[in-house]
Amino acid sequence: MQTFFQTLTTGLSDGSIYGSLALALVLIYKATEVINFAQGEMAMFTTYIAWALMGHGSTFEWWAFFATLGIAFIGGAALQQTVIRPLERASVLTAVMATIALLVILNGLAAWIWSPQLQFFPSPFPTSSWVIGGVHISKQDAGTFGVVMACVLILWLFFRFTKLGLAMRAGALNPGAARLMGVRASWLLALGWGFAAALGAVSGMMVAPTVFLTPNMMQAVLIYAFAAAILGGLESPVGAIAGGLSLGVLLNMLGEYVHPVTTELRLPVALGILLVVLLVKPAGLFGRVVVRRV
C-alpha cells in the first residue's frame, strides 16, 4: 500500500509537468492549428535563463521564477510575431517546419551559451518526505504538483473571467467572427504563444531538479507531453491536463507493478496504449469528433 501512494504521488507530479507542457501545446494548436515542436526547447531555454538569474546557485529563488515567467511570456509572444507570423500564410507544413527550425536553434543556442555540461538546478522544495502512516510522500513531488496546478488554475481564471481571456477564447473558437467583433486576431496569437511559453517555463523549472539541466533535458518530457495532448484531445485544455496526469500515473504504475514491462519498453508500451485509446476515441478522451456529413 505504501508503494501505491508513493507511486501515485510521483505519477501525479510527473503528470502535472507533462500536463502543463501539453496545455502549452494545446493553447497554440487551438489558436493556430500548428503543433509547436519547439515547445520543449523553449521551456529548456527559459529554464536556463532562470538558472542564470539565480546566479547558477544552489538555492531556488522565487523572484527568479516569476521573472522567468515574464521573460518567457514576452519571448514567446516575440517569437510568434517575428518567426512564425511571416510563415503562417504558407501551408501548415511550412509552419510546422518553422517550429522545428526553432527547436534546433534553441537547442544549439543553449549549448553554445551555457555549454552542454550537466548542471544542477535547485528545487524550491526540500528533498525530504512527509511520512504519513508509513507512507513516504516526497515534498518535492507534492510541491511540483501544487505549483503547476496553481499556474494552470490562474490561467483558467484568466481565460474564464477576464475580457482578454474571453477575447482569446473567441478568437480561437471562431477567428472570422471574432475579427468581425473587433478582436485583433494577430495579437491574440502572440498572447497565446506567450502563455504557452510561460507554461513551458513552469514545466521546465519544475522538472529540471530531477532530470538535471542540460540542453536535451526536455526532449523526453516533450514526447510525454505530445502523448498527453493527444490522449486528452488536442483541442481540449482540460484534456491536456487530464491526459498528462493520467499518463504520469499510468507510466509510474506500469513501471512499478507490471514486471514484463522493462524500462526500455516503458515508453513504447505507453505509446501503444495511447494508440489503442485513439482507436476507440480518435479525437482523444476529451476531444470532440467533428461529424462530417458526406
Binding site: A111, F212, T263
Partner: protein, 416 residues
C-alpha cells in the same frame, strides 16, 4: 515541364558549386607538409554526449602551446575536429572526409565506442592511424592483431572493473553486492572485469541490474530491486546522468548502502556534487579510481604538471573551465601525441607513428612520465601488451572532493 527542367538545372548547379570545393592537395605523406602536420578527430559537440566537448579543447590548447615553442621537428600541429553528434553514421562520413579530402596524417582521440567501431575497419583498410581513441572499450586495445592501426589510451573498462573486484575481495569479502550496469559494451566490459576480479567470490554479487541508456526513463525500477535484495554494497557501472539519478533515487527509496563504488567516467567532483545537491545522502565515501591529476582537488596544485596545465589553459583556452577534468584529459593525451611525433624525426610516416605508439615507455623510472597523470603512472606498450595506461589509484569521495587512497594499483598486472 519547364519547371522540372529549371529544377534539374538548378540542382546540378548547386551540386557543381558544392562539389567544386577542392580538397587538400595530397602530399607524399598524407597530412604532412614542410611546415605542418594535420591531425583530425570526431567528437560529439551536439546532442546527448556533448558533455565531452572539453576534451578536444584541452588537446588544442596543448598543441597551441607546443606550436608556440616551435612545433615538433619544425612543423606546427594543425589540429582540427568536427561534430559527429555521437551518431556513427556521421562519424563515418566525416572520417571519410578527413581521410579522402583533407588527407589527415592521423585520426586522433576519436570519441565514443560505437562511433569509433563504425570507422575502425575503414581506417585499418586504408592504413590510417586511429590513435588513442577516447573510450575505454577493451576491444580497441585488445584486438591490436586484427586492427594494427588502432590503439586506445585510457585504462580500459574491463581492467577497471577487475580492480574493483579485487578490492572487494581484499577489503570486503563478506559484502553483499548489488550492481547497476548499463546494458551495452560500456557496462558489459565493466561487469566482465568486475567478475574476473572477484574470481571465486563472484557469488558476492547478489543482484546485477542492467538498464538501457535512454532519455526517458531513470533506473528507478533497478534501484528498487537492488534495495530489495538487501545489498550493502552498491556498484555503479553507468554513464554520468544515470549514475547521478541512481544516487538520488537510492536516497528517495531510503536505501543506505555501507559502500558505493562508482566507475571513473562518472566519478567526478562535479557530478557527485550535483547528486548531493539533488538530495542524495549516500554520496560521501564513494570509491572510484583515478589516473590523471584532478584539477578540482587543490592537493595537486603544487605539482609541476598541474601548474603547467593551468598555465596552458589560461593562455590558450582562457574561456574554458580549467577545473573540468575533461580539459586535463585532453592535455594529457595531446602530450602523448606530441611525444610520439617528436620521435618520428624529420620524415614522419603513418606506419612510423603506429610503430612508436606500440612501443612506448613513458615512466617515472625513465624520468619521462606524462606529467599530467598521477605520479608514478607509466604509459607503456610493448609486444603483445597494448594497453597504454593501466595503472590507477583508488580515490574516495570525502568532503566534496575525491581523495587518493593508498598506492598505485596495476589493472593489468606489472608492466614488463
Amino acid at each position: 515541364m519547364r519547371k522540372t527542367f529549371l529544377l534539374i538545372v538548378a540542382a546540378l548547379a548547386v551540386t557543381a558549386v558544392v562539389g567544386a570545393t577542392a580538397g587538400a592537395r595530397p602530399t607524399a605523406t598524407p597530412g604532412v607538409t614542410a611546415k605542418s602536420i594535420l591531425l583530425e578527430g570526431t567528437y560529439p559537440l551536439s546532442g546527448p554526449a556533448s558533455g565531452y566537448a572539453p576534451i578536444p579543447v584541452g588537446m588544442g590548447a596543448y598543441f597551441s602551446y607546443v606550436n608556440a615553442k616551435g612545433g615538433v621537428n619544425g612543423r606546427k600541429i594543425n589540429w582540427h575536429y568536427e561534430d559527429d553528434g555521437y551518431n556513427p553514421a556521421n562519424t563515418v562520413q566525416i572520417t571519410h572526409k578527413f581521410v579522402e579530402q583533407d588527407h589527415a596524417f592521423a585520426l586522433v582521440g576519436g570519441l565514443g565506442t560505437e562511433p569509433q567501431l563504425a570507422v575502425r575497419q575503414y581506417l585499418n583498410d586504408n592504413k590510417v592511424p586511429q590513435l588513442f581513441v577516447a573510450t575505454g572499450a577493451t576491444t580497441f586495445d585488445r584486438d591490436y592483431a586484427q586492427y594494427p592501426w588502432t590503439i586506445g589510451w585510457q585504462p580500459d573498462y574491463e581492467a577497471e572493473g577487475s580492480i574493483y573486484g579485487k578490492y572487494v575481495v581484499a577489503n570486503m569479502p563478506n559484502a553483499k553486492i548489488g550492481v547497476l550496469y548499463q546494458n551495452d559494451s560500456y557496462g558489459n566490459d565493466y561487469m566482465r572485469g568486475f567478475k574476473a576480479g572477484l574470481r571465486s567470490h563472484q557469488s558476492q554479487i547478489i543482484t546485477a541490474q542492467p538498464y538501457d541508456l535512454s532519455a526517458t526513463t531513470p533506473p528507478a525500477v533497478q534501484m528498487a530491486k537492488i534495495k530489495a535484495s538487501g545489498a550493502d554494497t552498491l556498484v555503479l557501472f553507468a554513464t554520468p546522468t544515470p549514475t547521478i539519478q541512481a544516487y538520488v533515487i537510492g536516497t528517495k527509496l531510503g536505501y543506505k548502502p555501507a559502500n558505493v563504488i562508482t566507475n571513473s567516467v562518472s566519478a567526478t567532483d562535479a557530478f557527485l556534487t550535483i547528486a548531493e545537491k539533488s538530495g542524495s545522502n549516500i554520496v560521501e565515501g564513494s570509491l572510484s579510481v583515478e589516473y590523471t591529476l584532478d584539477p578540482a582537488n587543490p592537493i595537486y596544485n603544487k605539482l609541476p604538471g598541474m601548474k603547467l596545465y593551468r598555465s596552458i589553459m589560461a593562455k590558450y583556452a582562457p574561456k574554458a573551465n580549467a577545473n573540468d577534468g575533461l580539459n586535463l584529459y585532453g592535455v594529457a593525451k595531446a602530450w602523448n601525441v606530441v611525444q610520439l611525433l617528436s620521435k618520428l624525426g624529420k620524415n614522419p610516416t603513418r606506419a612510423g607513428l603506429m610503430a612508436a605508439a606500440r612501443k612506448m615507455t613513458f615512466a617515472p623510472g625513465k624520468k619521462n612520465a606524462n606529467p599530467f597523470l598521477l605520479q608514478g603512472v607509466s604509459t607503456f606498450t610493448k609486444g603483445s601488451f597494448q594497453y597504454p595506461i593501466t595503472q590507477v589509484k583508488l580515490v574516495k569521495y570525502v568532503n566534496h572532493v575525491f581523495q587518493p587512497q593508498g598506492k598505485l594499483i596495476a589493472g593489468r598486472g606489472a608492466l614488463r
